[in-house]
Amino acid sequence: MESNELRSAIEAILFVSNDPVKVDDLVAAFDESPETITAQLDAIKKTLDANLGGFVLEQAAGGWRLATRAEHDPILKKFFAKKGESRLSIAALETLAIVAYRQPITAPELSDIRGVNSTAVLRTLLERRMIRVSGRKEVVGSPFLYRTTREFLVHFGLNDIRDLPRLEEFGDLIGEPINEDVVAAISDHVMLSREDDEASQPEILRSAQDDVDDVKSTRDQHE
């Protein structure tokens, strides 16, 4: 197939597909080499990035997908009069982190690591399709086993679960801030716009500060 034609046909498929499109599937559909297909995908990505248009092409969950840029979130929310899904709670994120690294894992094992009963959080994550039941463990009570989903990979911009940084790389010593490199590594393929940086960063810091303040005030009351 002629290069330009191939490229626009791939674009059409990317445009229509709801899920990340796999290189293998494109290879099969066009009967072209994986190298040719990947080169086209790279070219599409570069053009979109250069244009700073309405959307970008990114790799996620072992495939490629078109998505809008984070900076357009406010106008999209306004236009579609959508509140957007609420952010995942800290409890949910903690639980998700454990499932991501320890999968497949049962609810009791998970609650044990977190030190709190995690049934309700697991349900939230099931509803959000971030995790799924992948079977039962062959122990007393046959508890369900949980795994992360493809949706999880897409949401966090991971190509594969093995792309997660090694757990050991996360702050070992208590009180030590998270290794900046690790955060950078995870957020690598995330396109942070300037505005977003400024908007989201202080929020995280602020909430951490709130926590500390909360503790202070309680202890004050108590003493």
Binding site: A91, L93, Y101
Partner: protein, 260 residues
């Protein structure tokens, strides 16, 4: 309440001044950090006291203290008492009673760090919209990728079917309920056990139709709950034995269970 609100003890209400921790390990990490102590050498007496102070504060504010915290408080006291025992100097390499807790704290701390980086990604990535799901060429209506269909979807679909059935068959449900009364089945089982106990459950169930079995099953559960009978199964796929207990049942109360 949402899962989070529950866990945080209702954070959405105003003027909440109690810090919100995501469990006893989170609280412990906080105390270690605040006291600037070495996690590998936790001053267990100090930390235990502060941990309990926190629980007291919660109690004063009439907040429900989750069992997980109480369990941790007990564990801390246990470790503290072990620390007070004289060390056997002849033995080398005595395991530090704090070791297991330290390992758990470190592991939890790592996952907390992962969660923090996930939180940042969550914010940014949530702002990246994909196209709204469209029906794909050649597909009729909404479809799910088979590789992503899990047990959750399966039972969710089952629930949907049941709910629809319920709405379209109100009389059928009414009839079912009248045909086999739970109270009748409770009485029947109990009478049988008065004659002979224990009996094999399989034997009692034989020849019943499905709906009757369900009534029996529910009645049996009630009887177990009331302490009038007990169930025993020696091995995994073995016979289930039903036996009468010492507790005498007042059979006139059985009727109470029909509208449950």
């Amino acid at each position: 309440m949402t899962e989070e609100e529950k866990e945080l003890g209702g954070e959405s209400s105003y003027n909440v001044t109690v810090p919100t921790f995501h469990g006893p390990l989170d609280l412990l990490l906080h105390l270690i950090k605040k006291n600037e102590v070495d996690v590998y050498d936790i001053p267990i007496a100090l930390i235990t006291d502060q941990f309990n102070e926190y629980l007291d504060a919660m109690e004063e504010l009439d907040l429900e203290i989750a069992a997980d915290y109480i369990y941790m408080a007990a564990l801390l006291i246990h470790i503290k008492s072990k620390m007070l025992l004289p060390r056997d100097e002849t033995m080398e390499e005595v395991e530090d009673p704090r070791q297991e807790l330290v390992d758990r704290l470190l592991e939890y701390q790592r996952f907390k760090s992962v969660a923090e980086s996930f939180a940042e990604l969550d914010v940014v990535r949530m702002g990246m919209w994909s196209r709204k799901a469209t029906s794909l060429p050649g597909a009729d209506g909404s479809e799910i990728d088979m590789s992503e269909v899990s047990l959750f979807d399966l039972i969710d679909a089952f629930r949907t079917a049941l709910n629809r059935y319920k709405i379209s068959h109100p009389q059928a449900l009414e009839l079912q309920r009248l045909v086999h009364k739970v109270s009748d089945k409770m009485a029947e089982l109990y009478e049988r056990l008065k004659e002979k106990s224990p009996i094999r459950l399989q034997w009692f169930l034989e020849g019943r139709d499905r709906n009757e079995l369900i009534a029996i099953f529910l009645g049996m559960l009630e009887l177990v709950r009331l302490g009038g009978i007990s169930l025993k199964q020696a091995d995994t796929f073995g016979d289930i034995l039903v036996a009468k207990t010492q507790t005498e049942m007042d059979q006139s109360t059985f009727a109470l269970f029909d509208n449950a």
